[in-house]
Subunit: 247 residues, 2 copies
């Protein structure tokens, strides 16, 4: 056989092997075979390995991630609305944001094995895996499932294959009470002034560390730390709750 023909056949074989693996992975993750494989090929392509197409658009999973993020929000909103018929809007909003936050999605993405399928620039691995590589890919897959199989199928995929198996809603509710609002409630009852201040920011390699301090009537109370201002403030509030014996 001519060498060029053989090379072509080899490329074709490799490609179809890769597609077969992807079809198997999607079947395992989503619960049924893809109709339009192209959507899933795109969903696993991180922008670090994406090329620009003839229209100048980067062919990465970012557009699907945008779509998936919105569909995920609607499906989880629906699920919580029906699961908690006697809870107010504020509760539903808070629990939803705990479910669809970056950390939580990244964990689910890892646990369903997206590390086996996602395509990204290996050289940038340490940076990416720190952050939201798997969560972003998970959102892109949700976007692909939505386009491939419709909203209803996608909603069941989200609830039955992602949320229920990997998140304990009771624990999500219990975990992470909002200490900041607890402190604020307490201060109003006790007629005290409360301030939350970021007193320092440290630049680390891949993130920043914030230090927050709670002041009650201008006296320092709990001090807290975190990668974001919000987390540092929560931590400071939690420590203040402990110091004040609020539970």
């Amino acid at each position: 056989m001519h060498r060029a023909v053989r090379r072509f056949i080899n490329i074709f074989k490799r490609r179809s092997e890769k597609d077969k693996r992807l079809i198997t992975a999607i079947k395992t993750i989503v619960g049924s075979k893809p109709f339009n494989l192209e959507l899933y090929r795109l969903a696993i392509k991180h922008s670090s390995v994406a090329k620009h197409n003839s229209q100048g658009l980067k062919e990465s999973n970012e557009r699907l991630e945008y779509l998936g993020d919105a569909v995920l929000g609607a499906a989880v909103a629906d699920y919580l609305f029906k699961t908690f018929p006697f809870k107010e809007e504020g509760f539903l909003t808070e629990i939803r944001s705990r479910i669809v936050n970056r950390e939580s999605l990244n964990n689910i993405g890892k646990r369903i094995g997206l590390n086996q399928v996602v395509e990204y620039d290996q050289k940038k691995k340490s940076k990416l895996s720190h952050k939201s590589l798997y969560g972003d890919t998970l959102e892109a897959i949700v976007g692909a499932v939505y386009l491939d199989k419709g909203y209803s199928y996608c909603k069941h995929f989200i609830i039955d294959k992602l949320i229920i198996p990997y998140l304990n809603i009771d624990e999500v509710i219990k975990s992470n009470p909002n200490y900041k609002s607890k402190i604020i409630e307490w201060s109003q009852k006790e007629n005290k002034d409360v301030k939350f201040e970021i007193i320092s920011v440290k630049n680390e390699k891949h993130h920043r560390e914030f230090t927050a301090q709670v002041f009650v009537d201008n006296e320092p109370l709990g001090k807290g730390f975190g990668h974001s201002k919000k987390k540092a403030e929560q931590d400071a509030a939690q420590k203040s709750c402990e110091l004040l014996d609020l539970d």
Copy 2:
């Protein structure tokens, strides 16, 4: 007829008159008769006139608004995804946020005639109508349509009855009002000091996220976020315009 019986009949008649009007209004707005009228009765009930039920839950449209907000986000995300196949995620996100923002929804809500159906405490009208009474009710109606007729019907309702007739997408894209200069103009007229400050910078995956804060006479007003200092300031200025009811 016994007076109590007559009174009962009158109450019943009034109620059914009100229901008839609501059915007609929903048919006009949504395009078909409600299956479950109860959902729409709830959707038009602002919390200012809501009562607590036996489970202690306030029977207002706030839960439906939470649900409708999420469904609206998904439907608009889908619409823009398909309308702009060669635009990047950043563009889609930006245009979506211009479409589903409070001001825009409030305008659509007014224009489809929600002022005719919404139930609220008249004494609080001037406060409420300024802000988001119609936009919130619109979201609640979207939530009701979603539960009553399913996602697919609801998506068509959103796109064909709310977005396309009342928003010119080309103009939404072109329009990018300069909120910062609006705030500065206002401050000069009102003789106030205005400052724009970047209060934090967070390192994200491929970019930084800046947080800007507008101060008026040293009091914090709107806070905004963005990938650049300029965008964060614009966002903070826009939020300040909303808070100040400048349009």
